[in-house]
Point group: C2
Chain length 341, copies 2
């Protein structure tokens, strides 16, 4: 089977965005703050928003299952305070959970966290717990920069983040390290901020001994690892300068890269440079790049085509498509096995 | 001949750093502020600092000429105010000029600018003018983030930067877009901030119509373009979403990538994805990654080896090594021709 580890609910019914806009207005004008219960989206609406979009493309592309989390750019942790983020995360996570109940064979949820700039990440634990225990989430998305492009949180290696890591280890779930919308005019959200965050997160791991402190902690770096595989020689050399172990020993028991790289040469480099066991199939469709590549006639984000064309053995391709995801997301594996898959 | 377009004076005599440390101390304690004239470095010291380092490696690697600018991480535009930066830039640029006079066949200078956070870039024009007219500089290094990792300057497409661009066009010189030390603990300087800046700068160009306003403006994006070539499909797709022309028309008359990518698969991707005319040979030695790659037994930053091994025609290799640099840096070409080269 083919598991896409990186899908966001980018096609949620418009009512969600309308509610969020009211919530944002309510920050400055509390009289306008809507209740969570005022958002009403029917199962029928959810079904429609998925069937014509993600599910249609999954069928066309032969993808079996998507790990499905709230829309990354809409997390916008920089907006409002913890209470605002908390209500918003609860709503978004519930919607992904409902999608996973409506399409239990095709979607399994991953949670966004109610992060807020300057707020102790421990405040995210109740939502994380609820999502894992009640909603069957198999992973979380962790935003290393809840400020949205100002980068004023401590690095991922800082004890600041440990409460999250402790819970991740307890539940044996990985985190995808994924920022949200940039509110810094220097950084285009999907063209700069996302890729920069991937590179930054990797380097924060490289310079630290985080995985000595948490040997079972697992991070998935999305978007093919940002700039990392392209500069793998640079990172190997920097680790050497810093007297760290070889990257395969220092980081590759804990760090994984997805295949959200939207052209053949990129996937060819990724599969040439990064050990197959550290590559997880993903497309992030319907996401940042929704068009058709005039050079190929196919969707840019139809990453299965690139992985199929990469010069790797069929058995290796199977690990990228399925085996690695089952290993890195044990709760996904357990959920699949419970259904005989 | 082989021209390395990206060399910094990373091996300057210790007296330079000592003077800078006194200058930094002088910011808080004006009584300690040294005069520029208190820095004394002899020609002999300059010669020594180059002969055993850059020049030795250039000879070993068969590189003929380096475009040589002040050490990037030492620019540290975030330290002090415009006056501090101005004195520091003048000192550093003079040293690179002196190196170019001591080794006129092997080094030609490029200037750092006395940028300072929140200060109008027009204040950099006198130093730029002096470097071009008196010192024979063939390019500048432009820092898109003089704050050192806080990214609070306007994007490169903003009229904020136009005074620099107007002078660049007047002198027909390119700018390498190169940040300096990160003082943001999120970003490792050479492992994250440099690469992020490359990606960010490219995306700032992509989202704008800067090169419509300045058709003759030329930017060199160092470090192989950050994450850009690896994600070329993503950037092509983003340009399409934004209704911009094809990247080759939108950006590739004005944007160039160097070859500071420290392993073979990276250079193979770069030469596969980016048109040869947009690739400039460079090594940035002796720089971020000074060690020997245990996988090859050669220096990571011996990028000539990778370019030699890339699957391109000899004529294309010649353009990467020399022809493109002569085209993108017309003052370099003129200086070489004046010497019959």
């Amino acid at each position: 089977m083919i598991i896409d580890v990186h899908g966001h609910y980018t096609t949620a019914p418009k009512a969600l965005e309308a509610w969020r806009n009211r919530q944002i207005a309510g920050i400055t004008n509390p009289a306008e703050m809507p209740k969570a219960s005022e958002l009403r989206i029917s199962d029928e609406e959810l079904r429609e928003s998925i069937e014509g979009n993600q599910l249609r493309l999954m069928r066309e592309r032969g993808l079996d299952l998507t790990i499905f989390s709230p829309r990354a750019s809409f997390m916008a942790h920089h907006i409002g305070d913890f209470r605002v983020s908390s209500t918003w995360a609860a709503i978004c996570n519930e919607l992904c959970y409902r999608v996973s109940r409506l399409f239990p064979d095709q979607f399994i949820p991953a949670a966004m966290l109610p992060q807020s700039p300057g707020v102790d990440p421990a405040t995210c634990i109740p939502e994380l717990t609820r999502c894992v225990q009640e909603y069957g989430n198999v992973a979380i998305n962790l935003n290393p920069d809840p400020s949205g492009g100002h980068w004023n949180s401590p690095p991922l290696s800082d004890p600041h983040w440990y409460p999250i890591y402790e819970k991740m280890v307890e539940y044996d779930i990985p985190a995808m390290i994924h920022v949200s919308t940039s509110c810094n005019p220097s950084f285009h959200t999907t063209g700069a901020h996302y890729l920069n965050a991937d590179t930054t997160a990797f380097m924060q791991c490289l310079t630290s001994d985080l995985f000595k402190a948490f040997p079972r902690l697992r991070f998935v770096i999305p978007h093919g690892g940002g700039a990392v595989p392209y500069h793998w020689g640079r990172f190997r050399g920097l680790a050497q300068e810093l007297k760290k172990p070889l990257l395969k020993d220092h980081l590759l028991h804990n760090v994984y890269f997805d295949t959200c790289v939207y052209h053949q040469p990129g996937i060819d480099l990724l599969t040439r440079v990064i050990p197959v066991d550290n590559i997880l199939f993903a497309s992030e469709m319907i996401g940042a790049v929704r068009g058709i590549d005039p050079e190929t006639g196919h969707y840019y984000d139809d990453t299965r085509r690139y992985v199929e064309a990469a010069r790797i053995e069929p058995e290796q391709r199977g690990r990228i498509f399925e085996g690695n995801a089952r290993r890195v997301y044990p709760r996904l594996d357990a959920a699949l096995k419970a259904r005989g898959r």
